[in-house]
Amino acid sequence: MESVGSIIAYVVIALSIIIFSVLAVTTRKILRAATYLLFALFATAAIYFSLDYEFLGAVQIAVYAGGIVVLFVFSILLTSHPGDNSARLASKKRVSGLIAAIAMLLVSGYVLISRCIGVAEPAMQSIDMQKVGATLMGTGHGEYLLPFEAISVLLLACIIGGIVVARKR
């Protein structure tokens, strides 16, 4: 039996994830969408925290909420005038969107429920940064030096690509 506090915290987190996600994709003001996204990302970070992945939660806030959303806001300001409302959706489009979303929901939901029902949260010792760092730099089983190096190439390439694309000429 969990503590009431944690349950309330969970409910808040879960509800905010759901609500902000829905709002992010339904609001007609693009800047608000970015804001809702930010809240959703915060809620995600909250999940990470509540599951004892503090480091991850921090990264989530730093990179996602801090970096990406800011990028979004900039680009929104660049590409649209504040206060622009997007036009109402054509119902056909909405229906097709709903179909896809609900189909996804049903199928994946079925799969998850069939497989993952009733798995309780096991105990886990919290992860210290030392271990995270060692794992990131290690070459053994379950250690990530190679991906770490590889993603640097990816990021470099993306930087170059971004520059080339964004450059005027």
């Binding site: 199928v107 994946s108 079925y110 799969v111 998850l112 069939s114 497989r115 993952c116 730099m137 290690g138 070459t139 053994g140 089983h141 379950g142 250690e143 990530y144 030096l145 190679l146 991906p147 590889a150 993603i151 190439v153 990816l154 470099l156 390439a157 993306c158 170059i160 690509g161 971004g162 520059i163 080339v164 694309v165 450059r167 000429r169």
Partner: protein, 486 residues
């Protein structure tokens, strides 16, 4: 922590060195010397390719980083094949990259190309899904930038945004699938997954595999995950299109093979065999049906490459050494054939901007060599002997049938019947060039650039020789038979 393990990754390191050299050259050389960037890149890359052929083929297989990365002669071979293809693309791109419009981005183009090639290497060698995803993203994200290279053309922008958005979407779906795999196996190492997945399939496994296949299907343009293909191929600069269509596709095919065999090999007949059946049939058929109607050459080749991907998949479904060797061989041949076709298209586009099939009417009258090259490419793609395409197609069918079930016969029969449709549209191109001469010729005679000709000569030589000279296929098959995939 043994950092010397990096040394096992000879080809990756070599490629990174090339990347760095180009990067440094482009960044620090004086303005005058920059005109030589193209030549420099081609030469360095050629040297690197040659070195790979000399050194890496003899390696026995190695697994490093506790099984996260693996290489073997077969893998070295497929990387070499990709190198050759990339080299041809590089050579063919010289004219385009040195055009007034592109010259400011020339260095970046090469860097991005090499970076994506590096990503493909990772996809092939990865034995861990994280590494794989990184490879996958490195192979696709910079490509989106490359697609957008023709800044003055609207199509280029449309193509890049389509490519990027669908790519990200598909990687989201793919990772969703991976998360299910992780839930089932508790690990992302291929070997662990292989052991952990029970032969009794669960709904989650099916969904996971469906998502994984969807993600890979995006790279490979399998129907129904192919819809971006035509638009992007059409909009992208021709060089990038050719790169997308052969190198990117070839690497993904092999990576998929490795993944399916190594991670999901045990549930072959329970789960993904049937999924692949469906995908192959759909891919070949729909690709063909769309290709029939196309008038834009690039779009046409896009759909042709969709259906070709279906044939490539036959090599995976075979699940044996013949199939694997045939798949590699198919990719090899496909590289040469498709690059020959794109070489002609880009030569013509660079010279007079025509990309419509109708513009090719009477090409033989004005530019006989180009049209012969194009014809050879078409015949090879259609699988007409004595050109290489015939052999690759025959062997891939042979490999598939070795699997032996009745269903595979039906599948191959459907594939074979589809070759009729594909022959039809390939012949349409031949017809335009050789037969339709009534209304005069649209394209005036011209002399294509040295680089284009060199690229075409290499491709044509490949088309003519790869099949008849049996050592290519023989060595691949021996490689696969001896070492297997792993």
């Amino acid at each position: 922590m043994d950092y010397s393990q990096f040394l096992a990754m000879k080809q990756e390191i070599g490629l990174l060195i090339v990347f760095l050299l180009v990067f440094l050259y482009d960044t620090f050389m004086p303005k005058k010397a920059l005109n030589g960037t193209s030549v420099f890149t081609c030469v360095v890359f050629a040297i690197y390719t040659a070195l790979c052929f000399c050194c890496c083929m003899t390696d026995t297989w190695a697994t490093t980083f506790s099984g996260m990365y693996a290489t073997s002669p077969a893998i070295a071979a497929i990387k070499n094949i990709l190198n050759v293809g990339a080299l041809i693309v590089l050579i063919q791109s010289c004219k385009w990259a040195n055009s007034d419009e592109q010259v400011v981005r020339r260095g970046e183009f090469y860097e991005l190309l090499l970076a994506t090639l590096f990503g493909m290497y990772l996809m092939i060698s990865a034995r861990h899904f994280l590494l794989f995803v990184i490879g996958l993203e490195s192979a696709s994200l910079p490509l989106a930038a490359m697609v957008a290279f023709n800044k003055n053309r609207y199509e280029s922008h449309e193509a890049s945004i389509k490519y990027l958005l669908t790519a990200v979407f598909s990687s989201a779906v793919f990772m969703m699938g991976l998360s299910f795999v992780y839930a089932l196996a508790g690990s992302l190492y291929y070997t662990d997954i292989y052991c952990a997945i029970s032969t009794q399939p669960s709904a989650m496994l099916v969904l996971a595999l469906a998502f994984v296949l969807a993600g890979m299907g995006f790279k490979l343009s399998l129907v129904p995950f192919h819809l971006w293909t035509a638009d992007v191929y059409q909009g992208a600069p021709t060089v990038v299109t050719s790169y997308l269509s052969v190198i990117s596709k070839g690497s993904a095919a092999f990576a998929l093979l490795v993944m399916m065999v190594q991670a999901f090999g045990l549930v072959y007949s329970q789960v993904w065999e049937w999924m692949l059946y469906a995908l192959i049939i759909l891919t070949i058929t729909v690709g063909n049906l769309f290709a029939m109607r196309q008038r834009n050459m690039k779009r046409f080749l896009a759909f042709s490459s969709v259906s070709q991907a279906g044939y490539i998949m036959l090599g995976i479904i075979a699940m044996n050494a013949t199939g694997m060797a045939s798949l590699m061989y198919y990719i090899l041949v496909y590289v040469f054939s498709n690059l020959a076709a794109f070489g002609v298209i880009s030569a013509i586009e660079n010279n007079c901007g025509k990309v419509d099939m109708d513009d090719y009417n009477g090409l033989y009258r004005t530019n006989p060599r180009l049209s012969v090259a194009m014809m050879l490419a078409m015949f090879s793609l259609a699988g007409i002997p004595p050109f290489a395409g015939f052999f690759s197609k025959f062997f891939i069918f042979t490999g598939a049938i070795q699997q032996g079930s009745t269903a595979i016969y039906v599948l191959v029969l459907i594939a074979l019947i589809n070759t009729i449709i594909s022959l039809y549209y390939y012949l349409l191109v031949v017809k335009a060039m050789f037969i339709n001469t009534e209304n005069g010729c649209v394209i005036a005679p011209f002399k294509s650039a040295c680089s284009e000709r060199l690229g075409l000569w290499i491709s044509v030589a490949g088309i003519l020789l790869l099949g008849i000279v049996s050592c290519f296929y023989n060595s691949l098959l021996e490689l696969c038979q001896t070492y297997g995939i792993f």
